[in-house]
Amino acid sequence: MDLIDRYLAAVRRNLPAAKADDIVAELRDDLMTRQEDREESLGRPLSKDETSALLKDFGHPLTVASRYRKHQYLIGPETFPFYLATMRVVLLIVGAVVIVVSIAKALLGGVDAIQAVAQTLSGLWSAVFVNVAIVTAVFAILERKGFPYAHLAKWRPDELPALSQKQPGPWESAFEVAASIGFLLWWTGVIVIPYTAQAPEFRLEPDPIWGPLFWPVLVLAAARLVHNVILWLRPRWTMLRHAIGAATAVGGVALLLIIYQAGHWVTVVATGMPAAEALQLDASLNLALKIAMIVTGVVWTLGCMGALWQMVRASRERA
């Protein structure tokens, strides 16, 4: 009797409180009837070991109690494929962002290679851990509050990517998205890359031209991020993708033209080096930026023309 009571108390601890009394009463009756049946067939009371075996047969208290719960799993079989697909995309982006930022820090921030690898691995581990937990928690809540099956059932076969449509691989897409996210994080100051760490004798200061361009650059980079995400995850949204592609290409070229016209973009401030040397470095750096802008301008103009052409072609196909 004592063992049965202890067993039922263990079951009760894991039952929904509102139904616990009723469930325990029913289980008690079943166990008592079993015990009596055995005792009758043996012609003697059950020993402690025999009662223990009877309870073991009935099942672990946690297992028995869990069967009375509405949800017996964290994420059900219908939700699981969407959970897995989301997890894959999130982890690819997170992994790529950590790697991109670490490479940028290693190249520009004066962090040595071993230190960079160690930081990347540690960053990767905590980022993966946190994101797995967040995605799992979101899906577990959706599973309980109602997963939007009705919305997902509305998918259209004609939205699946065409076989002829060239799609970049998942890592390529993830790195493109990660590069955009990395840039946005840097531009907004969320992550700081100490690009002067290896040069204690001077520091770089952005020229006033960049101040008014903060928002235009931010919007352009965010639009580019949306474009890359669509290209990866919703390749059949061609009109929207081409429209954003063309708009960002035109915007990019226009912005580049405004920036180019400033003629001077960063200033080298001497903090130890001779002023003449600083001036020379300033001139070389700005010349390099000028050349980079010309090359970028040509590439972007071609890209802009290509994006506009694709948009025209897509709208013709649709018509």
């Binding site: 009463a25 009756d29 009837t33 009935f58 099942g59 069967r67």
Partner: protein, 113 residues
Amino acid sequence: MPIEEDLFEKLRIELRRGSLVLAVLGALREERYGYTLRQSLEDAGLPIEEGALYPLLRRLEAQGLLTSEWREEAKRNKRFYRLSEDGVGVLAQLLGEWNAISESILRLTERTA
């Protein structure tokens, strides 16, 4: 081979699990309480896993297929279950489905040689 036996056991349990609701509904055309219900299932060759029967009964009751009441019998309070009116209808439909499946399987597995 132990792996094959394992696999067979898994498939067998899966197959039986699907038919358990039908067996429980069928057995509860007569009023029974949990212990006697499990015995009758066992006698009929369909033993149910210990501890799994009562949650199943509660689920079927919540779905409106069973009714239950607490009553004293043999000096102890017991919860008796029986098929509800809705349960009778659903059982008939499920039996029809069961027979159709059985016939289909027989047709598919019949040896023509």
